[in-house]
Symmetry: C2
Subunit: 270 residues, 2 copies
């Protein structure tokens, strides 16, 4: 992994983060901490109906020492190079991608002027956060579709190129809540170079340099295929169920860290 | 594990097995195969309302070369030693526990004359099958309750003594369908001596001697805690999320086997 691919901080959120103005808002607080009072762009691009997102986050961030919160939305890919859209990102300390459909993000802003400015912000040490679809989209290859709550069938999974702000991982969200263990293991089966990261709701992986720490009320699951001794992915029929032996799984709770380079978990200090 | 603890054949079914008289009924067919035309006792003890189970299975087994199918039910624990109830098990080649509540099985027939006869049947090489609650109940310690679709919280899991026909494992059912990975990993965290076996719907682990093979349309997950390097179970607060590192997981599909003694998966022959 090159340094270039991970200069700023990435906050990958499993969806459903606490946004109650009276709540702890552990994850939004962490977002705010990284902004140091700077401007935050709320990119609602993942949504087909972005109404309401801004007001919701505006209220949630109100007392959290965030500079101006401004919304970025594109109705159509043609707008993704518009000057006034690009100007929204000027002097931003961070971008927060809200939930929806990860394919809407990549199809509307992938390889656009907006994407270039997000990348530039990240490369100069800025914050990029994303929740739900906004988290999935951060990897090189992203999970798009695949049955939850069913053991992965070999032909069942759809992946697609993501924004590529973090390499060699694939991210799934609403993880325990939607029973997505089977599909994440299915994704890792395709190429164990890819580390599976499954993030529960109201939980986040805060990635800096080559490691992440876990915050929030749920867990982050890491699915590591390094030791896999058998996988029937290439030989079996598409409707056949996946068989994969010797997968290593880590269940990481608040305070646990994970070294992405060494592929090792680090327990929370007592 | 003593030989005594596993003399007959155990068929552990994850619930929802194909019972359509026009369907393949792969699992019921396997049950029938082990009976070799002998008598099968359908124990509906797990259910508070057993009406309908018998007719359903009677129809499903009709053309599968099973000898007489007879129902065994107890309204109350007082009946679990009744002569006519015990007589139902005479000359049986197998017992099939249908679904419901595993605690109803153990509280009504645990340590009773019925249980003794089931054990004797098993010890002389008979078949004991169980689906859903009827599968969970087979182990020494069984899973009774624990949130599905939520990452395991340390105080959240309830276990209880089961029938003990298979030792050193804990069985969960409706596994991928109900997103139960978190709770099975939570059970294993309590004592990695226990191997976690999670069985999908319409899927079974057929246990003979010291190994099992997988049949059916889903997967059997094995959660092995042997290599676990960190677990916060004993030190953290009950509402804290579980943290467990270096869990080994096998996803086993049809035809795969698992050696319970060596704790090693064996791929299906190509």
């Amino acid at each position: 992994m090159s340094d270039r691919s991970r200069r700023g901080c990435l906050i990958l959120i499993g969806g459903g983060e606490d946004r109650d103005p009276k709540g702890d808002r552990v994850i939004l607080r962490e977002v705010a901490r990284h902004l140091r009072g700077g401007k935050l762009v709320l990119a609602t691009v993942a949504s087909h109906q972005p109404e309401g997102y801004f007001d919701d986050y505006d209220e949630a961030f109100a007392d959290l020492d965030v500079g101006p919160l401004v919304e970025l939305y594109v109705n159509d890919r043609a707008e993704a190079g518009d000057r006034d859209k690009l100007r929204v990102l000027d002097e931003a300390a961070g971008v927060f991608f809200s939930g929806g459909d990860q394919l809407r993000i990549t199809s509307q802003i992938g390889d656009s002027g907006i994407e270039a400015k997000v990348r530039a912000l990240f490369d100069r040490g800025g914050l990029v956060a994303g929740t739900s679809a906004g988290a999935s989209v951060m990897s090189d290859t992203m999970l798009v579709r695949g049955s939850s709550s069913v053991t992965h069938r070999i032909g069942d999974l759809h992946m697609s190129p993501g924004l590529g702000l973090i390499r060699n991982v694939i991210i799934d969200q609403h993880f325990a809540e939607r029973g997505r263990f089977g599909r994440l293991i299915g994704a890792v089966a395709h190429n164990p170079r890819i580390l599976g990261i499954g993030i529960d709701e109201d939980t986040a992986a805060v990635v800096e340099d080559d490691s992440f720490k876990v915050i929030g009320s749920g867990a982050v699951y890491v699915v590591d295929g390094t030791r896999v001794s058998h996988c029937n992915l290439a030989e079996a029929e598409p409707d056949r169920v996946l068989s994969m032996h010797d997968v290593t799984v880590h269940v990481l709770g608040t305070g646990d860290r994970y070294d992405l380079k060494a592929r090792r978990p680090i327990p929370a200090p007592r």
